[in-house]
Amino acid sequence: MIRQAMTVALLLSSLAVPGTAFARDQIRIVGSSTVYPFSTRVAEEFGRITKFKTPIIESTGTGGGFKLFCAGAGMDTPDLSNASRAIKKSEIETCAKAGVDAITEVKIGYDGIVLANSREAPQMNITLEQLYRALAKDLPDGKGGFQPNPNQKWSDVDPSLPDKRIEVLGPPPTSGTRDAFAELAMEGGCKKIGAIEELEKSEPDKFKAVCQGIREDGAYIEAGENDVLIVRKLEANSNAFGIFGYSFLEQNQDKIQGSKINGIADTYENISSGEYPISRSLFIYVKKAHVGVIPGLQEFLVEFTSDKASGPEGYLSDKGLIALPDAEREKYQKVAKEFPDNVSM
């Protein structure tokens, strides 16, 4: 009886040594579902052509990724975190508190956010201000106050736009794409409106709420995190528009088309040159404590930043990643070899 009890106790105590039991020879990556298709492509190539094991990539979303990444510096935490936005100050603080005090930021490319519709309907040409007026929750009422968005049709916003009901399918607030859209498109258009401009300095909180608030009266439909679903719905309903990442447009160009924003089409070249207004940067964050400890970590980042992968002709461009301009790409190729502390703690 006593022997049995001791065996059980031993077994339990062997389990209870936190985080030391398993040495790792495989890179672990967490983070953004937007970066996931690119990251997995590189990982697969890396696993096939090098002697290292194929990294494991979890699709947790940018925020969820940083939570795991910043949980500690131990070897049981991820080495890299993919992000479809830059790391926030609060996340850097969480990281530092848990002992992750040296992080390297590697920019890998751009992603355009497109406003697309079915090819059966005409292509739309819209300015950011018009887009803001179509999708904002509240608009200035002209008397210094705000009123709920009265625009029901695109033509209510501007007579040049189609005489159709506003119907936009987009990601829910939990999505990084939604954050980026609110920041780049909505706020970008919002700033063009004189009445709001003054708010930015006097009441920054209200400015953010007014500029990034998206209407909830049914004109903007939250279609879930699944972009494939939005593409399918656009095929079925030629009156609807959808908001999603460029790679989904790139794969479905026979069925859907992107709208011109401020007169600029969402082509690879325009997003790459920065002319297309709604584009964001994609990043990988590296835990410096793991460099040189986890085998292959450095080689993986060299592969990721190489021209062969993320250059304009690289295999990631075929998956819809938009390459950095040459000078910037060279800069990050150097970063991937030297790992400077380029995230200020």
């Binding site: 389990l15 209870a16 040594v17 936190p18 985080g19 030391t20 039991a21 398993f22 495989q26 672990r28 579902s33 996931y36 298709p37 990251s39 997995t40 492509r41 990982a43 697969e44 696993g47 096939r48 094991k53 194929t54 494991i56 990539i57 979890e58 699709s59 947790t60 049981d76 090819r119 995190e225 699944n226 972009d227 494939v228 990442g245 790679s247 989904f248 790139e250 794969q251 479905n252 160009q253 026979d254 002709e313 075929d318 998956k319 819809g320």
Partner: protein, 441 residues
């Protein structure tokens, strides 16, 4: 009496109507109508449910079926010694690092001598899957004697070309640019004319693990992951749940504590599964330090989810065994534990197994709790044990259905078909067990 029914003697004097019977007669029609209506509602509900199910299954099968075949190109490949092993040493290191991609591409370029420009060649080579080079490498590594010979290889085409061959993508025309260029459509037609294009059964779908290239991706990795996860779940949950059910039903005193436990078990069965995932993250990963993404942890979390299901079913099965069995056993001198394990449990076992299978089927379809413990991940290596990183079938479906590449849409549906197949088999097994072995009293 011919019909055998005796007419009711009318006890009321003739002419006097019974007021109750009049009310009954009057309402009779309404009551029958109510019954007919209710039956109709029931029937309509069943028909609606059946139609929806049929529509769902039809869409999935229709989308998924094309994934079971794949387009290949039969290519004569010259494996020249200069390209692979210029020194002629046949050193495995040299063979492993050789540029097989180039060998395969040269074989294709040989067929299209008119394609010369850089971008044109790029378009041409992008018609082939990188899988061809991997396969050639495996062949040369396995048998270096093939170097210097010319062999015929069946190489998968790239996912876009496969989709084009299946009619899911149109070629670019009239200013609409698609994933297939005009040139590629022409080259494909030329290959087809020469009889080099073949549509074959997609064995890779069943033998490969996940890949970013849809034409190379398969469900085997996820199936093996599901197997290990389910094995851990079964090993943990079945004995624990059955033990708990036997103790609670046969031995435990009926007091406030056991009542509290009973209420808790019933409540646990209704807790959202993501909560169990959070628990797994906090306890198994953070406290005990078990590895992330491992089927062991996945199985432990899923065992927690299935425990209440199995306990409730097992207790119901034990309750269904009549007390006379227990009394008879005790009467001939069996101890309580002999009574339970020799007589009651064997009779209740079919019911317990049915509950277990239903619980396992439920666990097989779970994704939410696995997100927290890192099993929603891209994993190319096929797990060889419960400690290797793995993913499971429903997660694979989720990951594919969220991928931009269009060829993943049909693969996700194909994976759904396979998963549905497993679920149907498990549920049929549960029904058969119940029908064949369950004793009726």
């Amino acid at each position: 009496m011919s019909n055998g029914v005796e007419p009711m003697p009318n006890r009321l004097p003739a002419g006097a109507q019974n007021p109750v019977s009049a009310a009954v007669t009057a309402s009779l029609k309404r009551r029958y109508a109510a019954e007919r209506r209710f039956r109709l509602y029931g029937l309509l509900a069943v028909v609606f449910a059946a139609l929806s199910l049929a529509a769902l299954v039809f869409t999935i099968v229709q989308t998924g079926l094309p994934a079971f075949s794949t387009t290949m190109v039969r290519l004569p490949v010259t494996i020249s010694s200069e390209a692979i092993d210029p020194a002629g040493t046949r050193d495995p290191q040299t063979l492993s690092g050789a540029d097989y991609q180039k060998v395969v591409r040269d074989a294709l370029a040989e067929l299209f001598p008119d394609v010369t420009g850089r971008s044109q060649r790029r378009d041409l080579f992008s018609m082939l899957s990188p899988g061809g080079a991997y396969e050639l490498r495996n062949r040369v590594m396995a048998d270096p004697a093939v170097i210097g010979s010319r062999i015929e290889m069946l190489i998968p085409v790239a996912d876009d070309i496969d989709q084009y061959a299946k009619g899911h993508i149109e070629a670019s025309s009239k200013g609409i640019e698609t994933r297939i260029t005009d040139d590629q459509a022409q080259w494909f037609a030329r290959l087809k004319d020469r009889g080099m294009i073949e549509s074959v059964f997609n064995t890779r779908l069943f033998t490969a693990a996940d890949s970013r290239s849809p034409e190379l991706a398969g469900i085997w990795g996820a199936l093996v992951g599901s197997f290990w996860t389910m094995a851990v779940t079964l090993v943990l949950s079945f004995p624990l749940a059955v033990g708990a059910a036997i103790y609670l039903e046969e031995f435990a005193p009926k007091n406030r504590w056991t009542q509290l436990i009973e209420v808790n078990i019933n409540n646990l069965a209704a807790v959202p599964s993501i909560v169990f995932g959070l628990l797994g993250l906090a306890v198994f990963l953070n406290f005990f330090g078990l590895p992330r993404s491992a089927p062991l942890v996945g199985g432990m979390v899923l065992a927690l989810i299935t425990l209440p299901t199995i306990i409730i079913a097992s207790r119901a099965a034990l309750k269904a065994v009549p007390p006379s069995i227990r009394e008879a056993a005790l009467g001939v001198g069996a101890s309580p534990i002999q009574t339970v394990f020799h007589h009651v449990v064997p009779l209740a076992l079919p019911g317990m197994l049915t509950g277990t299978i239903i619980g396992m089927a439920q666990a097989l379809g779970e994704t939410a709790p696995l997100l927290m413990i890192g099993m929603v991940a891209f994993i190319v290596d096929i797990p060889s044990g419960p400690l290797d990183p793995a993913t499971v079938m429903p997660v694979q479906i989720y990951l594919w259905s969220d991928s931009p590449e269009r060829a993943f849409v049909e693969r996700a549906s194909a994976a759904i078909i396979v998963l549905l197949g497993f679920l149907i088999v498990m549920n049929v097994l549960a029904v058969v067990l119940r029908k064949r072995f369950e004793r009726k009293w």
